[in-house]
Amino acid sequence: MAENKWIGKKITRYDGREKATGALKYMADLEFPDALAGKILRSPYAHALVKGVEIAEAEGMLGVVAVLTAKDVPGLNGFGIEGPDQPVLCGERVRFIGDPVAVVFAEDLESAENAVEKIKVDYEILPAILTPEAALEEGAIKIHEEGNILRHHKSSNGDVEAAFKEAAVVVENTYTTPYEEHAYIETEGGFGLPLEDGGVELYYPAQYCFRDRMQLSAVLALPQEKIRINSNPLGGAFGGKDDMLLQPILALGAIKTGRPVKIHLSREESFMASTKRLPFKLTMKTAADKNGKFLAHKVFGISEAGPFAGISGAVFNYAFENAFCVYKFPNTDLEGICVFTNNSVTGAFRGFGNNQMTFGTESQVDQIAEALGMDPIKIRRLNCVKGGERYSHGHKVNESVIGIDKCLETMENSDMWKQREDFKSQTVEPWIKRGVGIAISQHGGGLGNLLDDTATAQIEVLSSGIINVKVSNEEMGQGSLTTFWLIAAETLGVAPEMIEISSGQTHNAPDSGPATASRSTFIAGNAIIKTAEALKDELKVLGKELWGTDEININSQGIYCVTCKTNFISWTEISAALSKKGIDSVSRTVAMPETDIKIDLGLHFIHTYVSQIVDLEVNTLTGEVTLIQTEIFPEAGRVINRLGYEGQSEGGSVMSMGYTIMENFKIKDGKAMTRNLQTYLVPTAADIPEIKVTPVELVEKEGPFGAKGLGEPASIPITPAITNAIYDAAGIRIKDLPASPERVLMELCK
């Protein structure tokens, strides 16, 4: 294979300059003449019936143009990825503190805010379901007509109880994990614009413009063709901008007022209304024989979706798909329930349920190793799924499954692991305890085999000679534009500067699916390669027509005839020649590879693996945990852009370091106690360890240039690696996240 020109290098990002200079306009930076400001009236109650909404006084106030309630929703008053159970504006019932009841659009924000205060809502307070256990109680009030259970999964294989009897070691624990707030720096905000044909256009940061358009079509009772969505760029998302939030309200506002409308949430409103990571309570019982071979893994888990289905059922499924982490268990027993509550809305968050489950399983594995006096890496290598083997769910995965052992082996041979005892001896103060811990995780890319997962790309050679590559997957910071740019350049054999990427525009790009599920690099990358190859075929046909031969060379200037070296046409001329033939663009579709068997959890075929070592200190006087250094070993196939690859690994690790030891989104009686960044503490530059990223580069045959996704996988193993290191340092086993100073001190005092 010829050496790649662009793939695998350190390339400055596609959208770097406009971001470094502040020139890039995010949605709330845009300006439209005569735009109205919107303010939403939200429910102060966790659960209540809406008996009436009185808007006359608000409507009559200075500057107010429209006050909209549920009555103004022309179509279906509901949305949600899994089903439309979340009202756009609540007309009958509110189900969480923050549920929108009305919205005011006025000439300026102050007028809108003043008018919102004059809206009178007659609520009849209902009992609120504030814990998952309460949701399951007999006679509990039903949050939705169908009841309070969103998902109930049960599956088993072999005989776990017999295995527990014969095992040399059985470890049983209950783990709890908290909500996590995405805390992207860009709070939700954007514009709705009326179109002359009665349609609407949105400028709003979101992770899947086509699905939003489909949902809006039902809400607005408008054909999809009349809805245009611009969802790029985003100032961070991490899953939190996956489902809709303000889109229906903005679209409604634009249509009803006939003017552009803007809403940009304050941080407190964003915290209140946006989705959070699903909290879990997991009871795990795991057994091994005297040689450390795993015999059984039993998991009972309960989680809460909050008031709506959203995409929480899929998150819950995904957690249970990953219940066995990377290991072979001959006997398994899984049961999980995900329920509705009147607490915070939950949904997708980087890792999609896998973080919670892997924290549990990888904690179990370390305890088994300790009970048997085994090395934590050796026990993992002994039990991990090897090449050619089936997973514990019974399915086969991609050939790069050998990456699991490769990640473990690379970690075992690393200097950091070998020198761990030296590091530990460097700390001298008697109240500071130092420890080293490890963990590994897997993460399947794509939507899973319960859903169609395809991507279409399109390439158009513009008259300017620029090659315009079009997909839907949004750029939320993860670097997908850069990835697409390099993949297109490498495939076509032109300089990246010749390529322009369009994405996140329903009217100007084909549907390549959502910017979620660590799928963009893999599936949109593959779609771009296939489309670029199709363009090359068209260029060969063109060469044949022009020069009687399809032996052509492609470069940044245009195409040359190889045999008759003087013949050449530029990209501008190619554009004209293709148009003349009626070829305005070339388009191809690809599908995600699927597993050979299906179960109701939605299995994945392509996995990325990440192992990680953490070296930290525990201050036994204050309970503070300080990370000193960490090394990350991702097996995400071949590296596309080294800077992006490292950036995802470092960023994912630090984000989940926050989840593990700092961030604590507290909710009491359905009300968020942590309402902004003053109390919800996320990592700063002063909190981070020294981070080393060591790629374990195997070629993923099915992936674009051998690559797999890395966005989410990088956020997973650090959590159990930290808690395993805390145990190594101070002898305390953290089973409830976060490992805050208070929690650590409490455990030390036990």
Partner: protein, 156 residues
């Protein structure tokens, strides 16, 4: 009231309401949207600009305090189409992901270098500890700041 100050090297004046913040003045009146509002409470640093040589949170500065000062925003860093050393370093080291915190982050580093051309790593970290980045994990931002220091020293 009308306030007069120097904005990105130019003397400017603007009619303002007393209750406005410097951030509103920059974004709404001067249409300089590089500084972002991420929290409105001085917690995230996305609105960081340089005022009289010091990095400040523009969301916490009442406009009346701006009178007679010299304000530098991200838009004022480029000179004749050439980016500042700090901006170039952020690009080179991959210190930008979603980019929403980048203008504020870059201004915090710039303010430090204006006052102290050869800061220690600890000083660099302290200078950006008030700027939250949710994407990068800060490693590449610190590296970019170090690169900017090296380039500044090499230039002098």
């Amino acid at each position: 009231m009308v306030i007069k100050f120097t904005l990105n090297g130019e003397r400017v004046s603007a009619p303002v309401d007393n209750n406005l913040r410097l951030l509103d003045l920059l974004r709404d009146y001067f249409k300089l949207t590089g500084a972002k509002e991420g929290c409105g409470q001085g917690e995230c640093g996305a609105c960081t600009v340089i005022m009289d040589g010091r990095a400040v949170n523009a969301c916490l500065i009442p406009v009346r305090q701006v009178e007679g000062t010299e304000v530098l925003t991200i838009e004022g860093l480029e000179k004749d189409g050439e980016m500042d050393i700090v901006q170039k370093a952020f690009l080179k080291e991959g210190a930008i992901q979603c980019g929403y915190c980048s203008p504020g982050m870059i201004m915090s580093v710039k303010a430090l270098l204006m006052n102290n051309p050869n800061p220690s790593r600890k000083e660099l970290v302290e200078a950006i500890a008030g700027n939250i980045c949710r994407c990068t994990g800060y490693t590449k931002i610190i590296k970019a700041a170090e690169t900017a220091v090296e380039e500044t020293c090499a230039q002098e």
